[in-house]
């Protein structure tokens, strides 16, 4: 599965961060298993997966807080596997922000610069530059306890970026913010990262965050990389049932592709197409199913409404077609909601449906 990054457009020599066959064991428990990954210059790569999938451990191995059991970690082409965090050219934004409570905002941002032995004047200049970057110049003299969550996050970002690190590391940076602020901070963070063009490795369990922010997504599960690709690759061409289910909503049908290329589900639902013969699972996203009131278009089917869930902007409907339950989403005009048991004519976009072969 990790072939994807090797065949990507970038020259391997241009990786700012490169993990080679990195594993981490805690006793017998495998936290990270044989992860190889390269992050190109200026790229924003996201490690995405459920909790316990090894994404945070992977990030911590890049930062140097966790030493790999085997494999190597390179930053800027130098082997950093056994170097302590303070010798690595990384800047990290922690989930809890980890601002020093006894230092002012300005002192927090200057902390790394002092350790790099910058002169007072240079430090002051960089601190105000960073405060302007995150648009909080008026907070220089405040203590972290006097800031809101969003402000703390921006200061943590400013502190990490002040040293101009080779790579910016973000550990679930939005998980402590409420839903609305989260979306705004996501946009701001992305704008800041773009403006300073810093290489970024980012950990999240939130697929929406990953899809909207990343250049490339690394989907992890059980300590392994499931798939690496652009957000479009990951969503539209999942390579495993896990990736298909974890990113976005989908209905998954077990079955097999016959020699003519038609997928036949276990319950006999036939999806004509040009898939490769053999057993597999069909991944059907809600948007692959569209209402077709006249019933004449290409592959029209009749489905019976089994469940409806009203989400305001759209209604999610579970349809029973040939005994298979498929999820679709549709915007119904006022009063036009289908009733339970009602029959709907729908078409399936066969060319967008993906069949994942059994391993």
């Amino acid at each position: 599965m990790s072939k994807d990054f090797e065949t990507s457009v970038r020259d391997p020599g241009d990786y700012v961060v490169e993990l080679r066959s990195v594993s981490k064991l805690y006793g017998d428990a495998v936290a990270v298993a044989d992860v190889s990954l390269g992050v190109g210059r200026g790229e924003l790569v996201c490690l995405l997966g459920p909790s316990g999938c090894g994404k945070t451990t992977t990030l911590r191995m890049v930062a140097g807080f966790v030493e790999p059991t085997s494999g190597t970690v390179e930053i800027n082409g130098q082997d950093m596997t056994h170097q302590p965090p303070y010798r690595r050219d990384t800047g990290m934004v922690f989930q809890s922000y980890a601002l020093f409570p006894h230092m002012t905002v300005a002192e927090n941002i200057a902390f790394g610069l002092e350790n790099l032995n910058w002169t007072r004047a240079d430090r002051d200049r960089r601190v105000s530059e960073m405060l302007n970057l995150v648009e909080l110049p008026h907070l220089a003299g405040r203590l972290p306890s006097q800031l809101s969550g969003g402000q703390q996050q921006r200061i943590a970002l400013a502190r990490a970026l002040a040293m101009r690190p080779a790579v910016l590391l973000l550990d679930e940076p939005f998980s402590n913010l409420d839903a609305q602020l989260r979306v705004r901070m996501r946009e701001e963070l992305r704008a800041v990262i773009r403006s300073v063009e810093v290489t970024t490795l980012f950990v999240t369990h939130d697929q929406e965050e990953a899809l909207t922010m990343s250049d490339r997504i690394v989907v992890m599960n059980g300590g392994r990389i499931e798939q690496v690709g652009t957000p479009g690759d990951i969503y539209e061409r999942p390579e495993s049932p896990f990736v298909a289910k974890f990113i976005g909503w989908c209905s998954m049908l077990e079955g097999a592709v016959d020699p003519e290329g038609t997928f036949v589900s276990k319950l006999g639902l036939r999806l004509p197409g040009k898939w490769k013969a053999g057993p597999g699972s069909a991944v059907i996203r809600p948007e692959h199913i569209r209402l077709s009131p006249d019933g004449t278009a290409g592959h029209a089917r009749e489905g019976r409404v089994v469940e409806t869930h009203y989400y305001g902007g759209a209604t999610r409907i579970i349809l029973d077609i040939n005994g298979e339950q498929l999820m679709m989403e549709e915007r119904f005009p006022f009063g036009g909601h289908p009733k339970l048991g009602e029959k709907l004519n729908v078409t399936l976009k066969m060319d967008e449906i993906r069949v994942i072969g059994s391993p």
Binding site: G91, F94, P101, E107, F111
Partner: protein, 264 residues
């Protein structure tokens, strides 16, 4: 409070035996301040208290810090071991030390057998022995104070410092120490106050050679039965100790509490 006020009242009684004096006099205070012997004992008591507190800090900080960073279960039984000596009677502890430090004691026989010294030395009745035993007695207070404050310091702050290019020493100096200062002060004050008011240990381990104010007061009251004079000395110790700790805390607060930059 009531006994303390009683002591203050006794110290002004015009008499030299038990409580059968009456009236009001500053005689006992004047006696203390006119004889340089007392002020030198007071000074020595404070120096000893400081030395004991410093040694307790030097040993207690690393121990308390590492206890705080252990998982809760591992911390629990180690904490019990730390507290254990406090559950023993002080007299038992002191007699134990008398056996260890005595002329024919454990320490001497070990040192002689190892050939480090040729004949037994006198460890007892000397200042280092008193300080050693006081440190042993009061160390748990320092460990517990440091431990409780360090458990409040989020370990992620150490990671953050490390990520910001701070090695362990810089992290310790600029993050751990400033944030642990409240606990360090509590421990330091506890040990200092307990040390300057100790009387059993200086009397039994130090004998007459290591006068500390606590044992002097004890003698004045229990051997000479001069309650008013003893009360005056006790009150002087109380005020001096209070003044000293207040000044010390003010100094420490101005240096450490809001000063990542100024610490150490």
């Amino acid at each position: 409070m009531v006994p303390a006020i009683g002591v203050l009242r006794y110290s002004f009684l015009d008499g030299d035996y038990l409580l059968d004096g009456h009236g009001f006099t500053l005689r006992h205070y004047l006696r203390f301040f006119s004889d340089t012997y007392y002020s030198s004992v007071l000074w020595d008591t404070f120096v000893d208290g400081l030395v004991v507190s410093l040694i307790c800090l030097l040993i207690g900080f690393p121990v308390g810090y590492s206890l705080a960073r252990l998982p809760p279960l591992a911390r629990r039984w180690r904490t019990i071991i730390v507290i254990m000596p406090l559950t023993l009677s002080l007299v038992v502890i002191v007699f134990g030390w008398l056996i260890v430090l005595g002329r024919n004691g454990l320490l001497n026989s070990v040192l002689v057998n190892l050939g480090i010294i040729s004949s037994p030395k006198t460890f007892l009745f000397a200042r280092p022995a008193v300080i050693l035993v006081l440190v042993q007695q009061f160390l748990p207070f320092m460990i517990l104070s440091v431990m409780s404050v360090v458990t409040q310091i989020d370990p992620v702050l150490e990671h953050a410092a490390s990520n910001l290019r701070a090695n362990r020493l810089v992290t310790f100096r600029r993050v751990i120490i400033p944030l642990a200062t409240p606990g360090i002060l509590v421990g330091f004050n506890l040990v200092f106050v307990l040390s300057i008011s100790a009387f059993i240990t200086p009397r039994l381990i130090g004998g007459n050679r290591v006068p500390m104010l606590g044992s002097l007061i004890y003698e004045r009251i229990m051997s000479e039965f001069n309650w008013p004079s003893g009360a005056a000395m006790a009150f002087i110790l109380f005020v001096a100790g209070l003044g000293f700790t207040a000044a010390f805390n003010a100094l420490a607060a101005s240096r450490f509490v809001r000063g990542g930059r100024h610490a150490l």
